[in-house]
Subunit: 205 residues, 4 copies
């Protein structure tokens, strides 16, 4: 029932009232993801939390996966913007890298639903494909930014580098998020060290 479902929104909200409705749906989804997790996420719960009728939800989204996908879109937009900012040329690359990791961590920690959504997007077959595309975009953006850091090499190489860094971060950040402050610092320190060393090999080696 899930594989290959339509994920496109049914209709874009036109007026302000409608935009608000969609907004509430997405916000509710995000908070529920954090509170009960994907397994127990369902359209009724979303609608209830959003204080919206289920039918309204279905007016805008063809199914539950489409809601998640819209939420992901929204978050990805924010994220790409953040990356673009952090990867602008100028400054010392090590500091820039740390800034980027910090920003990532902040998203994972304080964006409700972000961490949960990240893992759901790549684990649910229904969403995986679209998530792959989105990750590819993220990868490209970072790969491009690496040039400014001083990394040479073909686009393909840089994308592989970016991807490996990205995956390492995507694995460690949720841990850091859930960990206590000491453990979090430790994990972030190690992650940073690993990525810095890795890039240093390309930039200074």
């Amino acid at each position: 029932m899930s594989t290959h479902q339509p994920l496109e929104p049914r209709r874009r909200p036109a007026g302000a009232r409608a935009r608000k409705t969609v907004d509430r749906i997405l916000t509710a989804t995000a908070s529920l993801l954090d509170e009960v997790g994907f397994d127990d996420l369902n359209t009724n719960a979303i609608a209830e939390r959003a204080e919206v009728n289920v039918a309204s939800l279905y007016q805008y989204f063809p199914n539950k996966y489409a809601v998640l996908m819209a939420l992901a879109d929204r978050m990805r937009d924010e994220q790409l913007e953040m990356i673009a900012t952090e990867m602008q040329p100028g400054g010392v690359w090590r500091e820039r890298l740390r800034g980027l990791l910090d920003a990532y961590l902040r998203m994972f920690v304080s964006r409700p639903g972000f961490a949960e959504l990240a893992v759901v997007m790549s684990s649910s077959p229904a969403l995986r494909e679209v998530d792959a595309a989105s990750l590819a975009a993220e990868t490209r953006l970072i790969a491009d930014g690496l040039v400014a850091y001083g990394v040479e090499g073909s686009r393909g190489e840089r994308e592989a580098i970016a991807r490996v860094m990205l995956e390492a971060s995507r694995g460690v950040l949720p841990l850091a998020r859930r960990a206590g402050p000491t453990q979090r610092k430790r994990l972030m320190r190690e992650l940073t060290r690993m990525l810095e060393g890795y890039l240093a090999g390309y930039i200074e080696g």
Copy 2:
């Protein structure tokens, strides 16, 4: 429906016939995970695929998550054994590391359901806790092995190191699995380079 369910098997299979039943259930689960994914996995489908009656499934497992957990257990056992082997002292650490990564990749690529299960275990709230414990064990094992590689530092430090390496690998390996041969090689090369550089800092620095 999902949070905090009993995950322990209901009864250990006694006779050989019973053991076979359980085995078929787990194997069916693994193959279904690969074919239809977690979203569409359900006990009836598992039983059908296993050519076993659903009621039999419930004889051994209290619920759906317990099946996944048993499957994870089985795979984790294999995996820990593999790690223990690959991390035995002796030999050049760089080669050992590569061997370890190779072995990991082989599991991801050829163990049916392994990659899928890995992501499911950490995304489903019902299973996350037990998965965390299991990952902790894996981490400890690697952390212990790092000593043999020549890494110094407290147990806590080594565990952080191990964990970061582990997460990076858990992120990249599924990608490598799905990629074509060229891309796979490239990703593995970068992953190896990153982890080697990282460890080198501890061992040779």
Copy 3:
């Protein structure tokens, strides 16, 4: 949900613009009936096809069945007029009968929604009663016309005759409509032969 609903239009369209709205609704209904059938016919779809807001539809019709009923009314008017024309006295009765059947066939074939509506009206409990009345009117009209053909007998007898002829036609015409040209000709020939023979027994016997 369906039995015994008010079927009367809520308000007659006053201005020309309003009349156009109602018109579009009915036309849309007719075409949708042909395209998707009664099972999938719904007010939202009608409104969309009519390029009219659903709320406007409810301005003129109290519910879905009332729309169908209005459409039926409109078609029945046309039909009764047609019958009145074809059954006017004068000429050879056999030719008149053929003319009548031809005219019926034309309606079934070329009036969008006509054939579909005919069957819907007699199958849906909500509409059956009003359809019965309408068929009774049709029957009476034909029964009256039979006098001009030379059929004798009481009004009741003539109505039974008319009704039997009518039902036979209502069964065969939709078939003829869907059939290819050869089969259509054959069916119409047999229907004509049956009805002619039947009437001949009353007129010439």
Copy 4:
């Protein structure tokens, strides 16, 4: 949602208990068809009336239309048997024809759901196709029997004759069913007269 749905039963009942369940479902469907009509027929109501869980219904049928289709199948079997009996060679054709019409009337009058189902099958787009096939079988059976009555002509001709007779009957019989005894007699007399005259033209003309 209705066009082109799967109509095949999901699984044939194996044991006696299962057969009973399916039976109750079909019987409940038949009685509901008579009582509330197709518009208000829904799987919940069927299950309730059958004193069976809805899920059981879905164990055997993929959807509501499949239930109707199974019911139609069951009735059609009975009906074809009846026709075969009534059309056996021997005896005076006029009497045989009357016997056949009587038998038809009995089905329409006393088989619960039969009349309603007949009209539903040909009006619902989802079922129409399969009903057409079934009617074709009925037509063929009658066309074959016509030979025994003394009707000559090609198979195609006889089928057209049979079909026209069939449609006339299918139109008049439901009326007769709903009519009072006097009106019923009158309608049946006229129907018989029409069909007899029609066939006489082929047999004795």
